[in-house]
Symmetry: C2
Subunit: 348 residues, 2 copies
């Protein structure tokens, strides 16, 4: 966070209820915004006042990840762009087998954004960060003219300590590995889609936006050798399975009836002509573990918040390398392909 000099100039912050260009200009108004909105919510964990950077102690294997968040609308059932930005970043760290430690946040604000909306978003980020036990240690704010942005975009970078003793990567997936999903899929994408003003479908769906670090770290703490982890965001479960099958040059066999999908999500997908296997989650992950570790992994997950609804949904085999085959309820099989077009733009 930037500096916070004495603000002797009599410019009443209260006089602005919307973001103006000068809030990004580097002068008094920007300092006021940083102090009254960002520092008020995030605190200044490193006492880094007056610096455009933060200094932290790190040691050993460190995971780095970054994501820009452009979700539309900014607020949706189960979350908003602020909590989503924290969860999405923390989850990418967890997918590296890392314990999330620090986040940085860059905001691109559109002129005219109500300051009340910004406060709400920043408060939600701060709450999600507290819950995930990470500090938001440094940041930046830019303002673009009306019509050159869309309310607020947030780019978050995460730093974490790798806790897994073994590498977690697609090339470690082996034939016989079990495929586990940590909970029902598609909730986030459907919740966001239904929240868009042009859709008036009544389905009770809430985003699954949440940190998956606790269930992932629980697996590692239990000594389970996790071969590969991936969170099915854009492109959904089907796309990440295609990516892993392709990278591992192995076949993935998935049992459709085993994949948890909430009734509301299934209903909305049917109405909208969407396939839940291609819809983004923001609080789920898939894990590949040796077949003999599967039961223990499920046991651990089901006793950890965020993993209660974990299911084994398939396995890896040497046949059909690079191909994901879905076994259908009536016994047929179909090949799952990677998402080709744009099913749901701006869901994260």
């Amino acid at each position: 966070m930037a500096d916070d000099p004495e603000l002797s100039c009599p410019l009443p912050f209260a006089g602005y209820d919307r973001v103006v260009l000068a809030h990004g200009g580097g002068g008094r108004l920007m300092h006021q915004l940083v102090r009254d909105v960002f520092l008020a919510a995030f605190g200044d964990p490193l006492q880094a006042r007056g610096h455009d950077g933060a200094v932290v102690e790190l040691g050993g294997r460190t995971a780095l990840t970054t994501d820009a968040f452009t979700v539309r609308p900014l607020f949706f059932p189960g979350g908003d762009i602020g909590s989503l930005a924290v969860h999405g970043t923390v989850n990418d760290l967890a997918m590296c087998g890392a314990r999330p430690l620090h986040l940085t946040a860059s905001f691109i604000l559109e002129e005219g954004l109500p300051l009340a909306d910004l406060r709400r978003i920043v408060g939600s980020m701060a709450g999600a960060a507290r819950q995930a036990r990470v500090g938001i240690v440094t940041g930046d704010t830019k303002v673009v003219e009306r019509g050159k942005g869309d309310g607020v975009f947030i780019a978050v970078t995460g730093v974490g300590r790798v806790e897994s003793r073994h590498e977690i990567a697609a090339h470690r997936v082996r034939p016989g590995d079990a495929l586990i999903v940590s909970g029902p899929v598609g909730d986030h994408g459907v919740a966001v889609m239904l929240a868009r003003e042009d859709l008036a479908i009544e389905c009770d769906v809430t985003s699954d936006s949440a940190s998956v670090a606790p269930p992932v770290l629980a697996l590692l703490d239990a000594g389970i050798d996790v071969h590969c982890l991936r969170d099915p965001t854009r492109g959904g479960l089907a796309t990440v399975l295609c990516e892993i099958a392709s990278a591992a040059r192995l076949g993935v066999h998935v049992v459709e009836a085993a994949i948890p999908v909430r009734p509301g999500v299934a209903d909305a997908c049917e109405l909208l002509g969407l396939d839940p296997l291609y819809i983004a989650c923001e609080g789920r992950f898939v894990a590949f573990v040796a077949g003999e570790d599967a039961e223990l992994a499920l046991e651990v997950l089901r006793h950890t918040p965020g993993g209660e609804e974990a299911r084994r949904i398939g396995h890896v085999r040497a046949e059909h390398p690079g191909v994901v085959v879905l076994e259908q309820p009536l016994g047929g099989e179909r090949v799952l392909d990677m998402l080709t077009g744009e099913q749901l733009p701006r869901i994260c």
Copy 2:
């Protein structure tokens, strides 16, 4: 960088010469974009294929910094948003007394952006990163609808190893400290302003966008105890001096005639009614060192690329705490205040 599975689907990338929404959708088109544009330019320094994160070895005091870049226009004399994003981030690390090591990059693309522009920007980023000896180790791409962005925004986070044995911060500034600026001020802001289509002023001004890590590290390598460093970006030299005077609760006395300003910058500022002391630089810094170290610091800077035009421009005193006084050429004095409004929107 994301995964790069085999792309067997016959969707000719060449068929797209502009960014479409599906380039951000998580499916095949996004993988193609990542492979053909981002990985082609940045490489894959950590072999992190298939992960949304990178794992690096870090030890000890680590600097973290983040910035969003929204400069308009995307291309300007002396640089573009790509090289600027690398320099701006590397410079924030240098201001922490850190050696830049790794960058992450998040792109927010507007539907309709010519892919040729994106390639040029990404190529320029890659060149600036090579020159600064940092790797772009992980990234993200989002696409927003036409009219919801402005070509491309880039958020970059930097990670560096702190090389300074002493803390570098405003509270370490002491009465008697010399104030050094590493080169002429105002070039970047003026170059960007003149590049905007609505201005037809003929002045030969080029952005100073560059990494200041070499001159900063040269000071540290020479054993100089640098008390405070700051790069005068938004708000310019005057604003950062106000920030430091305020945070240190000391007075800063600056000699206007000693401040280097290029003739083209001075001319353009006169025509536009701007004060070069409030115009952003992107390749300069101010350093506070003990008075007795000033000559050595200048000697070191003048022999280091990026510091050849360094000048001593003032000193710190106990009187007038929190106030920056400018000594004018004809002997008068005036108080420099922090930038209040928005002088030049979107210069970085």
